[in-house]
């Protein structure tokens, strides 16, 4: 009898999730991750020509994944702040992983060689990966640069905990009084609820 109950529940769950998947396919296929979703790992080439995956980071508690690029003034405005985030949180278990999602055919300054140049100029302390073939950013649902996804490493995968902007002032770091990414990572480190889980920002549209 108990087995039957479990079976019914299982069938029900399958039925509901089948429906959900169907719905996702119809309406949300291009929208990417929502809070709580499991983020895909990847194997992308870093500016040092080595391949980088999230699974390489055995000791990490999570990741600050930032889709960013060279050509976008909004990304450039945040470069110093991205370096600061990495310096601040890498040692605490949340390294920055930067990914350039743009197709260099659309923006030649976003080519792999130009990424190396920019990373050297600015002294990036974090991996700056090239989304070759533009395959990873659509899975995340990144629409623009910079676009941040904070992931928490758990037994069941890397869960999306925050999606959005770095802070609330792209022009002036000193004037930003809502530091969304910092607040979110600090909350995760303390095991507290993240105060703001999603934010919106103007950014440069990603060109595949």
């Amino acid at each position: 009898m108990k087995t039957l109950k479990i079976l019914v529940v299982v069938v029900l769950v399958i039925a509901v999730s089948a429906f959900a998947i169907d719905k996702v396919n119809v309406n949300e296929a291009d929208k990417g991750y929502a809070i709580g979703d499991t983020a895909t790992d990847f194997k992308l080439k870093n500016i040092d020509d080595k391949m980088v995956s999230l699974e390489d980071y055995k000791d990490a508690k999570g990741f600050i994944v930032i889709f960013t690029c060279n050509h976008c003034p909004y990304s450039v405005a945040y470069e110093d702040r991205i370096i600061e985030l990495d310096k601040k949180f890498k040692t605490k278990g949340y390294p920055v992983i930067a990914i350039n999602p743009n197709n260099p055919k659309a923006y030649p300054t976003d080519s792999f060689d130009e990424m190396k140049v920019r990373a050297k100029e600015k002294g990036f302390t974090f991996p700056y990966l090239f989304d070759d073939g533009q395959k990873i950013y659509p899975q995340y649902g990144a629409t623009k640069t910079p676009h941040v996804y904070i992931l928490e490493k758990t037994g069941t995968g890397n869960l999306v905990r925050y999606i959005g902007a770095i802070d609330n002032n792209y022009k002036d770091a000193a004037a930003a009084d809502e530091k969304y990414v910092e607040d979110a990572v600090n909350a995760l480190l303390k095991g507290e609820k993240i105060p703001v889980e999603t934010t919106k920002a103007i950014g440069c549209s990603i060109k595949a």
Binding site: N169, Y170, K200, S205
Partner: protein, 173 residues
């Protein structure tokens, strides 16, 4: 010589269709160079441009000089602006260029392309607050366009061809 004229308290008056109420839109700054004038608004002031009820259809396009797909579709907005009479349709190009790029990038671009449509600069860094006020479904990527008349308004987070843009305009006109 490049000059920056500060019109603090400059007010543009807009009236509704009956002319009973007037709304003051205050530009926080006006960039003026070689015959090009670009007023700068924070969102609170800019928002009035999304709510004018004078019987005219407005095509509001969010763009920036660094945004390639935006620049690619600008000629279509210009064409709408020139083909439809001013009494019926007004095109407003809302630049999201950074203020420190206005003199070095935006104004030279506007002059070179000889843009005739009205251009304003939206300068409000707290985008998370104002993006949902433009449209709650907008992710913040550009190009994005609003076509509205009175209380009828459509929002598009996409690029247009001329035909597509005109088709959408005619739905509202």
């Amino acid at each position: 010589m490049r000059k920056l004229i500060l019109y603090i308290g400059l007010a543009v008056f807009l009236s509704n269709c009956k002319g009973e109420q007037q709304i003051a839109i205050e530009a926080s700054n006006v960039f003026s160079d070689k015959g090009v004038e670009i007023p700068v608004y924070d969102f609170e002031n800019f928002e009035h441009l999304l709510n004018i009820n004078d019987g005219k259809t407005r095509v509001i396009n969010f763009w920036a000089t660094w945004c390639k797909p935006c620049v690619a579709e600008l000629p279509y907005f210009e064409l709408i602006n020139s083909r439809y009479p001013n009494k019926e349709v007004e095109v407003i190009l809302v630049s999201l260029d950074l203020p420190n790029h206005v003199e070095s990038k935006l104004i030279p671009f506007v002059k070179k392309q000889r843009i005739q449509s009205k251009i304003v600069l939206l300068d409000d860094p707290d985008a998370n607050t104002w993006i949902p006020k433009v449209n709650e479904n907008w992710s913040g990527s550009i190009p994005a366009t609003i076509i509205y008349k009175g209380n009828t308004s459509n929002f598009y987070e996409r690029s247009f061809t001329y035909d597509e843009l005109e088709r959408e305009l005619k739905k509202i006109l």
